[in-house]
């Protein structure tokens, strides 16, 4: 698979990457629009601005491969192929939700699509991915596991403990750090010395790669190599992608006006919108006509309409279900 880093990418794949990114963007946009109605009664951590990473990484994963993610997981779950209906219904607290209304936005799960669950404890998902990879290695099932997490999670001891173990056992796991420079509202400089997160890998004998996380093609190519390495039994890779969160840490609003992050920084990154940049690129390369784009957009909007309708017309769990699923 090493050639993937150079070879031209088939048009279908290019278009699929676009469709996935757009689905994430539009789903999150719709969540914002609906959130004020106060019917999604759970905290939402939106990934608008970070779509390229989910799309570029998951493009290489098979349905049975595992991903583990965090509080900010909508994009990863969508990119991994999860049904929008079951996500929307979970946000709406319905019994048709992927976690039967028990999990909410922070605990999406769909084992049928290789999504065994997401955790809102920072760093928590990283060893879980290593553990699933250990299972795959022991079973010889050929699966790859991916952990998505933020720059904030990179400071938790479990991250480094997981790197150590995964390296020692040469596990088929890829650690994907989405560095959006903030953990809630703490800038990286308040938390870490000025060293790339990717550079922490070498101390554990693991390759660490940094790339622009808003360029889906760069993500696609670097992830290709890491996932191929994992699948071929050569062990883990740490990927660090720099990107930017457009919305507040939690909720549908912007936090820029309130002074949580510098306005110039935000503007700079808004200019580098991963969806738009990619759209232009595809247009320039003649891969995607305006008409096709419209069609994709329409198809996705329709899917989201259906998902939201499904969610809002679904039944709520019965109070007695409170006591189910504890064990």
């Amino acid at each position: 698979m090493k050639h993937m880093t150079r070879a031209t990418i088939p048009d279908d794949t290019l278009k699929e990457l676009y469709a996935v990114m757009l689905t994430i963007r539009l789903f999150e946009d719709r969540t914002c629009a609906r959130y004020a109605e106060q019917e999604m009664k759970c905290p939402v951590h939106l990934c608008i601005g970070q779509e390229a990473i989910a799309a570029g990484v998951c493009a290489h994963l098979k349905r049975e491969d595992y991903i583990f993610s965090t509080h900010r997981s909508h994009g990863h779950c969508i990119a991994k192929g999860m049904d929008l209906k079951s996500i929307a219904a979970e946000l709406y607290g319905r019994s048709t939700g992927c976690s039967r209304g028990k999990g909410g936005s922070m605990h999406l799960a769909d084992p049928g699509h290789g999504i065994p669950g997401t955790t809102a404890i920072v760093g928590g998902c990283i060893p879980l991915a290593a553990g699933a990879a250990l299972a795959s290695k022991m079973k010889g099932d050929g699966r790859v596991s991916v952990a998505f997490f933020g720059d904030g999670a990179a400071d938790e001891g479990v991250f480094l403990e997981s790197l150590n173990f995964a390296s020692l056992k040469k596990l088929p796991v890829v650690f994907v750090c989405e560095n959006n420079f903030y953990a809630t509202n703490s800038p990286q400089s308040a938390r870490q010395p000025a060293v790339r997160i990717a550079d922490r890998a070498s101390g554990f004998g693991i390759p660490g790669v940094h790339a622009d996380g808003n360029d889906v093609i760069r993500v696609f190519r670097t992830a290709a190599e890491a996932i191929a390495r994992a699948r071929e039994g050569e062990g883990p890779t740490l990927l660090e992608y720099t990107t930017y969160r457009w919305k507040a840490h939690v909720g549908p609003n912007s936090d820029i006006e309130a002074g949580f992050r510098p306005a110039e920084q935000h503007e700079e990154w808004m200019k580098r919108c991963p969806v738009e940049m990619y759209e232009q690129r595809l247009e320039q390369q003649g891969v995607l006509s305006a008409q096709e784009r419209k069609a994709i957009f329409g198809r996705i909007e329709k899917q989201i309409d259906e998902a939201m309708d499904f969610a809002r017309t679904s039944p709520f769990p019965k109070p007695g279900e409170l006591f189910d699923d504890v064990y």
């Binding site: 607290g93 999990g103 999670a153 509202n185 409170l322 504890v326």
Partner: protein, 346 residues
């Protein structure tokens, strides 16, 4: 010691100092902020640390503006690395500082249980009392809005089980300020559990700094038929229940424990001896919880006065669900207390 300048108050008075002209109604949130600010002002060795502590939101307002006043060395934002940084705070405390570690949710404390349980709680004992750990850890309990299993636990019992720790749960603004100042000035590692639903509560609070020491509860409302012994936010549900019960001719006494380790056994016993009936209302789950401890104390030491089986009003033994429909079934409120009281006095 700058702390000698601050007056200690163990007077059991539920509200403000008589005669302090500067007592004003302020919120629980602001009472905490005032305590932190006065501690920072009084003692150069006090510092605050926590992820997002200097956030414009200011940890629900409780630290707002403090960085601007005291600088980012003394109001220190930090990495998400709870065990390591709790160790750092303990090390600093051992070396003479008085750190206050702030966590947005108590759910994150399992990350640093080792440093809390095995180090902070035991250091004084292991060193034969030669080295103290004057560390205060603030941790917030959430509730509602689909926060789900990992963001709405109420884990005070885990700490109350550990010798060497103190665990305070202020329910009122006056107590929040006094208990926090008492803890920061004290020489023992103390966990301060705050409930988010209390932050808007108002009460008259003196501006002058004062301390309340952990270990004393207080009677929030006198009664003679039944004791409702409660913690934190459940004090309000208990008071509401007591009002309703009054209409039915049942006189309920409401006790606010304020501190769950040490626990005010005397007060529990005297209240139960007076009323003969006990309901315990705690914010956590029942099994091996604070409510079990209160019930056990009553069964051991006020047994002869008990006229009816004890009742615990706690969270059920399930993780917290996300859907608001399930949340409604999950959280007990004053109606559950009223129901229990009716049954017990029937």
């Amino acid at each position: 010691m700058p702390w000698t300048k601050i007056q200690a108050d163990d007077s059991h008075t539920p509200v403000f100092f008589g005669g302090d002209e500067r007592a004003r109604e302020i919120t629980y949130r602001n009472a905490i902020r005032e305590a932190l600010s006065q501690a920072l002002m009084t003692d150069r060795n006090v510092f605050l640390i926590g992820e997002g502590i200097d956030d414009p939101g200011g940890v629900f307002g409780t630290t707002a503006g403090l960085k601007e006043t005291f600088g980012d060395e003394r109001v220190m934002d930090c990495a998400i690395a709870e065990n390591g940084l709790t160790g750092v705070a303990i090390g600093a405390a051992i070396a003479g500082m008085r750190p206050v570690f702030v966590h947005m949710r108590v759910d994150f404390l399992p990350m640093c249980m080792d440093q809390i349980i095995n180090h902070a709680a035991k250091w004084s004992y292991m060193t034969g009392g030669k080295v103290k750990v004057p560390l205060t850890i603030r941790a917030i309990i959430g509730r509602g809005w689909g926060s789900a299993a990992q963001h709405s636990q109420s884990l005070q019992a885990l700490f109350a089980h550990i010798p060497g720790l103190k665990v305070i749960m202020p329910a009122s603004p006056y107590d929040a300020k006094g208990l926090l100042l008492g803890s920061i000035a004290g020489d023992s590692p103390t966990i301060c559990i705050e409930h988010r639903w209390l932050y808007d509560q108002k009460e008259e609070v003196p501006e002058t700094p004062y301390m309340i020491h952990a270990g004393k509860g207080l009677v929030r409302r006198q009664g003679k038929d039944i004791s409702i012994i409660s913690t934190s936010y459940m004090v309000y549900e208990s008071l509401r229940a007591a009002s309703e019960l009054e209409k039915e001719g049942i006189s309920a006494e409401v006790v606010d424990l304020r501190s769950v380790l040490p626990m005010d056994e005397e007060l529990i016993i005297s209240s139960v001896m007076k009323t003969g009936r006990l309901i315990v209302a705690d914010t956590g789950v029942s099994v091996c919880g604070v409510a079990s401890e209160v019930a056990a104390i009553a069964a051991e030491q006020a047994f002869d006065s008990l006229k009816a089986p004890v009742r615990r009003i706690c969270l059920p033994m399930t993780p917290t669900p996300a859907s608001h429909v399930l949340e409604r079934a999950y959280y007990p409120d004053h109606t559950a207390i009223v129901r229990a009281a009716r049954e017990m006095t029937a």
